[in-house]
Symmetry: C2
Subunit: 330 residues, 2 copies
């Protein structure tokens, strides 16, 4: 018997800020799995800034948006999966789907850690923060660190890993409430609301010893400000440039790039593909830090596939604190 | 008896393009060397784009411009130097000076190589090209390479080292004559005059296999164009950003920087300080390549200290082919 599934399709290329009309909620019927196939019921969907540029280039129109999701096997005719197994996949923005097993990564959660952790500190955001800071940024204990969108999913974890490594950490974020969260919960040394004034004039007095590592999620004005405070041989792991994601071609204008010459600065764009060898060490470090309460996470959770487009739109507006998720089923 | 020496002073901070009035030619008397001192007569002066940003910040006003120069010991009261010895120093833009020996680097030229080579392929430009391409750019044999200002001092050598390494090499330059030099003399695979049209639309058809290493001397529009053609895991050694050097704060605007994320691109600013360990290997490689005729160099040589300011102004206009030098004495 076919399973009804609602999906969120991208129906036109967004121009500038995402609009509700860029998306449509479509009801489909998912056929029963055939021999060698499984039916997956999606449980928790990741809503990620990196999806935005793909909506301009890459994501097909008239199809469900591709995004990370955690699901449960509901029916299996594939010996590699049994009913009740949890699987990660890129088949988000839909309630259910049939798969021959390709692109499904089994997940065996630790019983004492919440499932949401696998979409946050123990999932993509945590691994991105960990590898970006330690492998790409070559962070050394006690360095001077600046993290932009420090209350976002990746930024919050990057900031706290830097604190665990004994660094002085400054974060930027988009509201006074988030500034308080960074100082009171995440334990940063300093934080500021970038909407309260120019980034450069707010950042400068908070980085009296300069910046050795700038973990960039934003680009644009933030990157310019950081470049004007970088120490010699500083590193800029470039995780995202969200400031440009709503612009055509994801453009973000930077004017201080020539500072990298005499400062001998490295900017390096990366994805998790650059440090897959760290996966095991990451899982063990991060599970330990979570159990010890040394990494605090927060999630903003919308409920129901009909809220998925709104979650994406609100993410780009910075409405969320921490990781933006959509709960699709229990 | 004091030695008269003419010097070129920076007398005001340049705004935009350099003007003759930014400089003054001053005649001074250099006292005889005291105990432990030497009198150096400068022979050949380097005129270098990197001097331009220092004229906005760093270079003192009302003093001789600091720049690389090759000189000869004319009188010595210091046991470490004898009359006739050649020395490199940063005390350019003057005819003669007295020194206690600090900042003087003795030079023992190979008798079969011209002295100018030590200001070009065997000097700073050559070493910058060599280390920038091989150490910072991590060039691998047979890669796809783009070099901007490829007929300039550093660019010409970087381009030819890449050819020696079996790479496909495209160069940009500012005149049709220089395009011909790059193709006919330096042996590049392709070259274009960036004044004949947008960099991006000229570069794209010349890089059908993309770009693995972009050796950046220019920044701005060149960097944007290269970023839109970089291959995954590409490297951009950033040697200079001359496009912004005549602007306040050396600013050069770049809009495509977010391309570095999914392409996992590394941009790295550098100076020779980053690869001093390569010095010996460089000298032996480069002397060999020069003797074998595998590196062609060219110099644009002005004569007399009274032409030094003009040489600097013309360098920034791109009048020179190859290394810009001023001959002060034989």
């Amino acid at each position: 018997m076919p399973t009804p599934s609602r999906e969120v399709h991208l129906v036109r290329r967004p121009e500038g800020a995402l609009q509700p009309g860029d998306f449509a909620l479509i009801t489909t019927d998912v056929a029963d799995p055939g021999e060698g196939e499984v039916l997956v019921r999606n449980l928790v969907m990741s809503v990620d800034p990196a999806l935005r540029p793909r909506m301009s280039v890459g994501q097909e129109l008239g199809e469900a948006v591709m995004g990370g999701v955690l699901g449960r096997i509901e029916m299996s005719r594939n010996a590699a999966f049994k009913e009740g197994d949890l699987v990660n996949s890129r088949f988000g923005f839909r309630e259910a789907f049939v798969s021959d097993g390709k692109g499904l990564a089994p997940l065996k959660p630790e019983p004492d850690l919440p499932l949401e952790a696998y979409m946050n500190a123990l999932g993509g955001p945590g691994f991105t923060a960990y590898g970006g800071l330690l492998a790409i940024g070559q962070l050394k204990d006690g360095e001077q660190v600046f993290v932009s969108t420090a209350a976002g999913a990746v930024g919050a974890i990057a900031s706290q890993i830097a604190k665990i490594k004994g660094c002085y950490v400054v974060g930027s974020t988009g509201s006074d409430d988030k500034v308080r969260w960074l100082l009171d919960e995440a334990g940063l040394d300093a934080a500021f609301n970038y909407k309260n004034g120019p980034v450069r004039s707010q950042l400068r007095p908070l980085t009296p010893k300069g910046i050795d590592v700038y973990f960039d999620n934003v680009g644009g004005e933030h990157l310019d400000a950081a470049l004007s405070s970088m120490n010699t041989l500083g590193r800029v792991p470039v995780c995202g440039m969200i400031s440009g994601y709503n612009e055509a071609g994801s453009r973000t204008s930077v004017r201080n790039l020539s500072n990298i010459i005499y400062g001998r600065i490295t900017l390096r764009g990366f994805t998790a593909a650059d440090f897959m060898d760290l996966r095991g060490r990451f899982q063990s470090d991060m599970a330990g830090w979570l159990r010890e309460g040394r990494i605090k996470t927060s999630e903003t959770i919308y409920r129901g596939i009909d809220q998925a487009a709104a979650a994406m739109i609100d993410l780009m507006k910075g409405v969320n604190l921490g990781k933006m998720l959509v709960r699709l089923a229990e």
